[in-house]
Structures are given as C-alpha cells and as structure tokens.
Amino acid sequence: MFHLISDCLRPLHGRPLPDGLNTIRQFLLAAPLALASVLSSLFIPAAQAQNCETLRSAHGEDVISVHCGGAPSASFDHKNHLWVAFVSNKHVYVSRSEDKGTTFSTPVQVNAVPEDAEFNGENRPKIIVADNGTVLLSWTTKTSNRFTGEIRFSRSTDGGRSFEQPRTVNDDGLAIGHRFDSLFLTKSGKLYVTWIDKRDLEASLARSENYPGAAIYYTVSDDLGASFMPNVRVSHNSCECCRIAVAPHGDDNIAILWRQIFGEQIRDHAIAVLSPEGTVSDLSRATIDNWQIDACPHHGPTMVPASSDGQYHMSWFSAGTIHSGIHYARYDLATASPADIIKIDGTPGAGHPSLATFNDTLYLVWKGFDGMSTPLQLMTSNDEGRSWSAPQTLISTDQASDHPLLITSAEGVFLSWSSEQHGYVFKELNND
C-alpha cells in the first residue's frame, strides 16, 4: 500500500518561522511574513502592538524578548499559563505569560553554551509543560552547512527557573542530517520526539546505492525526558525538509503525518501510528496530489484528531497535478483513505496551514500573499470539516513574518504568530 522512493527537495527560504501544535499538548510547526491592510484589526490590541524594533530602540540591540525571538512556539500548562520558546543569538529561551500573552516573564536561557539552534518556518524550538510542571523542550541544532544537524532536548524540573544541559536525542553518533524535530506528550505521559534522519541515506551511499530522500525516526521517554528508548525508524524515503505533524492516537500512541517520496519523484504525504514500544502501524499514503518535484518544498502538513477515533483532520500544501494549493481532508485510518477533500486556497502565495479543534469547532489558519501584503486567513467548520465558513482575514502585514500556529488550552484556541511589524501576537480566536 505504500510505495516509497525518490528524492526530496529543498526549502523555500530561510526565514523566521514557527511550528504548529495543538490539543492536549502536542507540537508541530509552521512559518513566514506579512503587511498591513488591516482589514480587520479584530485581533491586535494596542497593548500587544510592540514590535522588536520598538524594543531595541528602548533597550538596545541585544534585548531578549518574545517579540524579537526567532520562530517562537507556544504551549499552555495545566494552570493555563502560556509558555513560549524562541531562539535568540544561538540560545533557546523560554518566557512565561500568566495573562495569555499580554505580558511575559523575563526570558530564561535554556542552553548555556551557544549552539546553532535552527529557527525558521519548518524548524523551531518546541515546548511542552507536563502536569507535574516539568518543562520539556526540543530543537534542531545545525552542525554544518552540509545539511547536518542534531536533535536536542532539555528540560526544567524547577518550574522553568533553570534547564538541564541539552542532550542529543539521535543515538547514531553520526555527524549527518537529523533535523525537523517534533515533540509531543500524550495524556498518559509518553513523550515522543520525531524527526527526519539521514543515517540510512548515508549507509546506502557508503554501499554506492541510491537512496531517495531521508527517513523518519522517533524515540519515546516514559520518564519525562530523563531517558529515551533507542531510536526507531518509521519510514524510509521521506522528503528531507518538511515539518512532521503529530496528533494523539489513543492514550499512549501518536499518529504522524509527513511528506513522503512515492515512486520516483512524487512528494505527497504518508501517515503512520507509533507506539511507545517502538512499533509502527497503519502506515499508508495519506494524500494523492501527484506533486512530482525533485526539490524541497519546505512546506509541512498539520493534523489534529477528529471526533471519531482513528480519524484525523489534516491540511497540507501541494503543487501537484491532482491537488494544488492548500487542501483539507479528514483521514480515516480504518479505511486508509481521506474524505471531504477540499481546496482551501489555491492562490500562489497561500501556504503553511495550522489546524486546531475546540468545542466541536475546527479552526484552520494559513498565510497568503496578495502581491503587497501577507494576510492571515481563518476558516472554521462546525461539522467535522464537511462544510466551512468563508475565509476571514485576522491580520496582515507588509513586513517579514513567521508561519501562523494555533494553540489550544482548556479555555480556547489561540493564534501564535510573530512578525516584524506586530511583534509576537498571541490572541484568542473563539471569543469574537
């Protein structure tokens, strides 16, 4: 059912960006830019309209702030406090907000020794706070200009006041590509890290054998990151440069969605279920877009659970001959097929969708570009993705911006987004 093969491509650009995530405490990614025809200023209160330029004018070029940080991502703890991780000057920082993003605590440095932590749309630090208060972080550190990197992990067991020395999660000890990490904590306390790994590629090359793309690997910790089990391969021949979407599957398992190489050069998506015991099941093709490209889209998918067990809402980008643009579908693992496939936005500048669910409503946010500015668009569905509201522009910018991310808590669904013009914006979407 699953035919792998071919070679993956490459990224768009190396701009700042975010990652996606959702529900319980999951994580993923996303990213880019914007401009200002504020069609609706619904979501940008004046109090939040402080950007990095303003802060640097007031506090100097070296100011450390969520508004200046590269590729922030966010998560709520069980007290509904907001935690944001970002990169600044080769350090990962964490800042906390007890008022849903209006004000933030002084950022705390995670890695004491500088490292080249990646921060762009598809690669950003991820943060999750366990119910016992342990703060968990993963990120990718670039180790050369030859597409090499390591998957890094750190945690705080004192409420975010200090962080353990970062550790490398990939266990092959090779100076090769390990990048595009995602972090997810199940309700039952299983901590998953997934990433794109080139160890099989390198081994094939050593045998003078062709190996399209890279591979997907993961590991699990059942002690909140004190230790991790040996790395497990999920799939050969993944695309090399797109974020991996993660969603819960039952109490202990997760489902992941990633860009996979099918046939010679088709870069569509695959889905699989991973267990804490290291077993991979339900591996199947999730999208049939027929995007033949020997290049890198740098454009990963987003996924959240649907109301029925084993079904997932997913949104992705493709420029294939079957589907082109941002699409939505609801995938059923039992039938290994997508339903209600719809085109969300087929305009050339549209991309980087992020999904979330709250109170039976499905939210989908993505970035566009109209030639002058970047609007963030929102659509909602109240019937599990069968029908959708008209698109609504949340905010726009005519300066650089990250991918938009949706974050959920027990209280609502929120937009997490960074731009030069607006700084870091965190705004509830379900109360307007």
Partner: protein
Amino acid sequence: MINKSLGTIAGFTAAVLLCAAHVALADNRPADNIQGFGPQTFSELKAQFAGKPFVVSLWSVDCAPCRVELDMLGQMKKADPAFPLVVISTDPIEKREDAADILDEYQLADEVTWMFADSFVERLRFSIDPGWYGELPRSYFYDAEHNMMSHSGILTEEKFRELFPY
C-alpha cells in the same frame, strides 16, 4: 545525486581555504561578488537583458538538490563565460559568507550573483514570479522576447538545453 557534494569533503575544505584567500581583511568581509536582491532588482535585471535571452537560477545554502544544479551551472559557465546566467540565492544576504563558500566550490564565485536583501521575502519571490511557491531549486528561461518558461527541481543538462536552446 544530492550527495555528490557530501563526498567531497576535501574539495570543500579546499574551497574554504580558497575562499579564505579572498577575504579582504580591511573590512573583515568576504571580497565576494554577491549583490543584494531587492524588490526592484528583478525588473532591473530584465531591463539589462532587454532583447536577449537569459536564464535565472534560484538556490539556497540549505538546499541539497540546488548543489547539483550549481555544479552544472558552474561547468556551463566555465565552458562559456558569456552564458547569460542570473544566479540568485534566496537566503538573507547576512549569510553571504556561507553562500560565497558554496559558489566558490562550484566555480561561480567570480560571477556577479545576488542574495535576498529584504526580510519580506514574499515580496521578493513575487517580484520574480507570482506563481512560484518557493520550492528550490527553481529556474526560469527567458527568450529574446522575454517569454518565460519555469522549472522546479533539479535540471539535467539535457533538459536545460531543451528549455534554453541558445
């Protein structure tokens, strides 16, 4: 194919050393031939090539397949120094030292090339092609009347010649 370059550590090291020789210590910046690419640059380049065919190649330092294409372009340029080639890196120009190293490795360091010099990259991409999704490598083939054809992904020389028979 992506990894042709991965096997050339020695070559890369040599390239770095060569590049070091290019460093202008006076201002501590590489004496490269990279220019900033702004919102108006592409229209200016098209004007420079008025009535003439030319090729545009977009790449980034983080793009493995792009190295394959740069290798081909470097060899083509070496064989025909007058070849009308515009090479644009979509990385921020702050990464110019990384780009210069790579261009040097592929014998393109002596050519004038461009790097994105505006953080609002969507606008820069739009100025090149409103229909480009940002995937790399990406190439454009303009004839003398500036009718354009585009291609995403690694180009073979055969395909290149087919798209640009000049």
